[in-house]
């Protein structure tokens, strides 16, 4: 159960956004909007959902609070306790692990000074070990906020974290120099194909 936070209410902009989402569903089916609304609430509230937010959304959608709590506790992307304003999620599932995710986790722990599952004292960063995020082709990788940082090793991980700590926003995507998920070291097939415009 999430710790007490007395009140929660959407900001005007978020409320408008929520109303737009609710309007997508036919009358009587407003409960379908519960997941996007939880996401908005979590973004508004420093990346976690207090009890008050669950009850606020339940009221907004005409659901019993327990039904909202069931949804929020089922999905791992909803945090029911403070999880850090910036959440660092390192994938440690098999492909990333084979490609050295242990080193990435260690680098994160060292750079942030916390262990997996903990939040820094200033509440700025949270570190979490997660299951596959579906970017195995660029393993190992981690998700920070909404961005993927890929092709990591200890050094590049530290660089990304340090940059974030200093308030900068490092460029997301592969950190090893390649473009998206193109083959490492340049193309190996269809090398003779020419994209030159025909005369």
């Amino acid at each position: 159960m999430s710790p007490a936070q007395a009140k929660f209410e959407f900001t005007a902009a978020n409320l408008a956004e929520a109303k737009k989402i609710i309007a997508k569903y036919p009358p009587g089916r407003q409960a379908s909007a519960v997941m996007p609304l939880l996401t908005i609430a979590q973004k508004q509230n420093d990346n976690w959902l207090p009890q008050a937010a669950l009850e606020y959304i339940a009221g907004l959608l005409g659901m019993a609070p327990i039904r909202v709590h069931e949804v929020a506790s089922f999905y791992t992307m909803y945090n029911l306790a403070p999880a850090g304003r910036t959440q660092v999620q390192v994938c440690t599932t098999t492909p990333c692990w084979l490609r050295g995710s242990d080193a990435v986790v260690q680098a994160c722990e060292k750079a942030l000074g916390i262990k997996c599952g903990e939040v820094t004292k200033d509440g700025k960063f949270g570190l979490k070990e997660v299951e596959c995020l579906g970017a195995c082709v660029n393993a190992p990788m981690m998700q920070i906020g909404d961005d993927y940082y890929e092709d990591l090793d200890a050094a590049s991980t530290t660089k990304v974290i340090e940059a974030l700590k200093s308030g900068a926003k490092p460029a997301p995507g592969p950190q090893g120099g390649r473009k998206t998920s193109e083959p490492q070291g340049g193309p190996t097939t269809l090398t003779t194909l020419s994209f030159a415009e025909k005369p």
Binding site: M1, A64, P65, I66, R67, H69, E70, S73
Partner: protein, 691 residues
């Protein structure tokens, strides 16, 4: 209708049924945990797997609709293997604590593991342990035993109408809990104990009290409200250990209210177990001979018009019939059974019955509640109303103070004003009732037990006559007392000059009555009985016994064979499950013995002879278990202008309404938890395996 073959047996069933139901029609048992015929289908336990020809894998029969030409097999090696596999998975995390589990001996998991499971398990890892949850003073939880069938969640959401139970987390971490671990605030909450197929939810008051095979089971009826729920009374020796519901589709389906289930511990406390006589300023124990002699002497000495008899809310029809006979032979006409002063006429049975019948609610399409809170006055009528609401297309409105009936109700005002307008046809809801195919009106004691009750009755009755349709009678009175309809049927009503309970009490306090005979009557204002000699015949040391000058100890509803008539007019038999304590006797026998002492011997010596005489005088008692439809004649009672005061619902505390529930410690705990809202005392924190 789809035809299908199940284990080679051709079966034809209605479309829309599931394969599991079709198998039941064919007489084949399918094991199940999550499926329950009164709840929605979840399909998550997988125990009901069967083989369907041409299907690549076993199907969950509870969730598969029947289709034309299906070939189902339920006894192939594939099905047996599937069941063994499911059973093994269910048992992975289930503790092996059957010897200390209260469900032992009546556990679905135990039985089905024996019938369909493997003879050994292969799981060698640690089992998971789940912290127990607080669900109130009635439901004990040992959540490590939970197999996540979600029957309790579906019951709370669908039948009880309190969406407070849910399953949090997922997979290995899924846990059933109430929201914020609050007590489950429903009047029918304890039915989840019967629904739970394992020992995760068990009865808190009955914890570690007895094993099912030690109990003697007696089929009986409940008297905690006027619904007449069918129950099974389980006794060990003399003691009533527990009360469980019994199936009756027309009355309680298979649920009972928490009061019906748990007030039974009140049967052990505050009992009157020997006769007492007021002598030299205090009650002293006397023999039956002395007690009956004293009573007879008083009754013979007083002039008939200076005697009154009041029947209580828990009386069986036999004792009231006997007492009426005794009073008639003494020439006494001051009889009364309406302790609350309800202005109920009794010119015909339809005047005071729930004419639509409880099952009939499901056919109604509009309903008006007048001065009644069915959730507290008749919890199982309320679950029927909710069931009807969930079917859709049901317009329901209420006149009275704000209500929470677990379904939305249109509130039309808190006093008689709205009723006057509807009766006059000027209120919009009058049109709703007029247009309805099967409209019903439920008139509660909150509208009748007040000075202008007669005027309100006349208004409601006039309105009720307009709710008649072909084969449909929409006029209903919702009684709160189990004995009331029986007493009205017997005519335990004034024929003397004291017209109602108010007049009786006025006469008594004014010195106009020499003897008042209270047959289990505890709900009247005892201070107003003045200096009259009060004979109290009953089973509990409650209000009546405190005021009494002479106490004749009687039997409670589990201790006698008696007839009770429920609010629909359904006569049902309560059966003797254990003997009354000490020198207490069955009530009709006491009255019979008293009649002999008074020299007016009643003409029957056995219960059979009494019943014969009763049926002869009142033929409605001949039809046990059924309802004789009563026709609603035109009402010719005096109408008047009703007052303007708001209706007040008759029950202030659902958990304590009669001498038995007031003596019950469990009901006291419920009052504390649900009405006074006290914090749970030391919420359970164990896991069942915490040592």
């Amino acid at each position: 209708m789809p035809k299908l073959t199940i284990d080679g047996i051709p079966v034809e069933v209605e479309p829309g049924l599931t394969v599991l139901q079709a198998c039941e029609r064919a007489g084949i048992e399918i094991p199940r945990f999550c499926y329950h015929e009164r709840l929605s289908i979840a399909g998550n336990c997988r125990m009901c797997l069967v083989e369907q020809e041409k299907a690549p894998k076993p199907i969950a029969s509870c969730a598969m609709p029947v289709m034309e030409g299906m070939v189902i097999k339920t006894n192939t090696p594939m099905v047996q293997k599937a069941r063994r596999g499911v059973m093994e998975f269910l048992l992975l995390n289930h503790p092996l604590d059957c010897p200390i589990c209260d469900q032992g001996g009546e556990c679905d998991l135990q039985d089905q593991a024996m019938a369909y499971g493997m003879d050994h398990g292969r799981y060698e890892e640690n089992k998971r342990a789940v912290r127990d949850k607080y669900m109130g003073p009635l439901v004990k939880t040992i959540m490590t035993r939970c197999i996540h069938c979600t029957r309790c969640v579906r019951f709370a959401t669908e039948v009880a109408g309190v969406e407070e139970l849910g399953a949090l987390g997922r997979g290995e971490h899924m846990e059933i809990t109430t929201y914020l671990e609050k007590a489950l605030a429903s009047e029918v909450s304890a039915n989840v104990i019967d629904l739970c197929p394992v020992g995760a939810l068990t009865s808190k008051p009955y914890a570690f009290n007895a094993r099912p095979w030690e109990l003697r089971k007696t089929e009986s009826v409940d008297v905690m409200d006027a619904v007449g729920s069918n129950v099974r009374v389980d006794t060990r020796g003399r003691e009533v250990m527990r009360v469980l519901p019994r199936l009756n589709e027309d009355v309680n389906e298979e649920w009972i209210s928490d009061k019906s289930r748990y007030a039974c511990d009140g049967l052990r406390r505050q009992r009157l177990d020997r006769p007492y006589l007021h002598r030299d300023g205090k009650l002293v124990p006397v023999t039956w001979r002395e007690a009956l002699g004293a009573a007879a002497e008083r009754l013979k000495a007083a002039r008939p018009e200076r005697i009154a008899a009041v029947a209580g809310d828990l009386c069986d029809a036999e004792s009231m019939f006997a007492l009426k006979g005794l009073m008639a032979s003494l020439g006494v006409g001051n009889l009364e059974c309406r302790q609350d002063g309800a202005k109920l006429p009794a010119s015909s049975r339809a005047d005071y019955l729930f004419n639509t019948t409880i099952a009939g609610i499901e056919r109604a399409d509009a309903c008006l509640l007048v001065g009644t809170n069915p959730r507290w006055e008749a919890a199982l009528v309320n679950t029927r109303l909710r069931k009807r609401h969930l079917m859709g297309g049901f317009k329901i409105a209420a006149i009275g103070p704000a209500l929470n009936l677990t379904f939305p109700v249109e509130m039309l005002g808190d006093g008689p004003k709205a009723l006057v307008e509807i009766a006059a046809g000027t209120h919009p809801f009058a049109q709703v009732l007029k247009d309805a195919k099967a409209p019903m009106l439920i008139l509660g004691m909150g509208a009748l037990a007040r000075p202008d009750g007669a005027a309100i009755y006349a208004l409601a009755r006039k309105l009720g006559e307009g709710l008649k349709r072909e084969g449909w009678n929409g006029f209903n009175v919702l009684h709160t007392a189990a004995a009331r309809v029986g007493a009205m049927d017997l005519g335990f009503l004034p024929s003397g000059k004291l017209g109602d309970i108010g007049a009786v009490l006025d006469a008594a306090s004014g010195g106009g009555l020499d003897v008042v005979y209270l047959l289990g009557a505890d709900e009247i204002d005892m201070k107003r009985l003045g200096k009259s000699f009060v004979i109290y015949q009953g089973h509990h040391g409650d209000a009546g016994a405190h005021r009494a000058d002479l106490i004749l100890p009687g039997a409670a509803y589990t201790e006698k064979n008696g007839t009770y008539v429920n609010l629909e007019g359904r006569a049902q038999l309560a059966m003797l499950a254990s003997a009354p304590p000490g020198e207490a006797r069955e009530d009709w026998k006491i009255v019979r013995a008293l009649s002999e002492a008074a020299g007016k011997t009643l003409p029957y010596d056995t219960l059979g002879a009494l019943r014969q005489a009763m049926v002869k005088a009142h033929p409605s008692f001949a039809h046990i278990g059924g309802v004789e439809p009563a026709s609603l004649a035109a009402f010719n009672g005096a109408a008047g202008a009703p007052g303007s005061g708001a209706f007040a619902y008759p029950i202030a505390n659902f958990y304590m309404t009669d001498p038995i529930s007031r003596a019950s410690t469990t009901m006291a705990e419920c009052t504390e938890a649900f009405l006074n809202g006290s914090a749970p005392l030391g919420a359970d924190r164990g896991t069942g395996t915490h040592g």
